[in-house]
Symmetry: C2
Amino acid sequence: MPNPSAAMLVIGDEILSGRTQDTNTHHLAGELTARGIDLKEVRVVPDDHATIVAALNDLRPRFDQVFTSGGIGPTHDDITADAVAAAFGVGIAEREDAREAMRAFYETIGGTLTPARLRMARIPDGATLIDNPVSGAPGFSIGNVHVMAGVPSVFKAMAAGLLPRLERGAPLVSRSLRVERGESEIAEQLAALAGEFPDLSIGSYPFRHEGILGTNIVVRGPDADRVETAMARLRALFGDPAA
Amino acid sequence: MPNPSAAMLVIGDEILSGRTQDTNTHHLAGELTARGIDLKEVRVVPDDHATIVAALNDLRPRFDQVFTSGGIGPTHDDITADAVAAAFGVGIAEREDAREAMRAFYETIGGTLTPARLRMARIPDGATLIDNPVSGAPGFSIGNVHVMAGVPSVFKAMAAGLLPRLERGAPLVSRSLRVERGESEIAEQLAALAGEFPDLSIGSYPFRHEGILGTNIVVRGPDADRVETAMARLRALFGDPAA
């Protein structure tokens, strides 16, 4: 059975303008890989209602899980929740469970539930909440779409609560070998080896570090024995500085 | 006249698995913004021929410029050039100008043009080369698609050579105000102000730094006077710690 598949939709003008470096995708990618969920596509789109709706409706039938980040804060440019409701064709309204989660959070920090904050209690009909232990306002899941905040500390906390609820796959085994030779020098032997192991993914990533030009070879596959067999062959071919 | 639009296509299993953090998008986004070219969409896709072809053919009719990063090295998993040729329905072959550029580069570093390296001289028919002063093997432009390396130092060098050749737009003027108040506290006034300035993009980005909870308000627009007018209003509303 293939692993569950996933896509990430990053929503935010600030990423596309170069003001902010997106780090949520990298965090989520690592967490999904550890759980055997294969991240297959990432998109970044602007804070534009029609564009978000179209991206959601393109991605959600094609992947088992779709994660979004960004656009669920209290201000006028936070339009993700409305776009998700529109994509699913459902209503959206302030909800008692979201209000209660926020009220309890603000109580602990000595804040109050202002009208601006209550905007963040607007949740599409039929969605379930994703807990936000960092700043109170919840994310939500509807169908296979999981809507989280853009602020990295909040995104991470929401993902930590959400991911254990999702179906896992078989995590890929991943091993790497650092070779102090350029990619071009090892390309032919590597291609031949990849041909012998069609069940494995063998990638090569050049690096240049403190004047040393080299290649990291990464072998991935579902079967640990096969990965180890390929790694032994690689070490025999290219030597292992650690051996 | 609207600014030229652009999309970025990042190609690489290593980004989707969480092994590598993509930084090329952030670099390109800043460079494009400075030139008045609006980056409208980013996609990350795996090293899979059919997926790359489909993404290219979806993006290239919709945007003025499409930039790709990744998958043009010497190894078996570098399949971008072939996918670009397939997307355009043109042939691909080792080309004399690419070979010559690489030969000249390797001469300066005392290397030679091995068969593996010559794989990187395979260029789709009709493409023009993008210079690679860092490691020799060129990128290329075909139609409105610009194909660059994934290694960040090489990507940056290629972009630096390519971007001055592209049509510029009117760069947006961007000003920001740091307010030491939470987003929720300023949301209502900010929404009212955004309503008064429909020609400007007014974004708010919460931060938490050394115990201070605050918001960066970013005002963007084509007309510097309008941006300054809005900034003056913002300073009057929320105070300016620097004033």
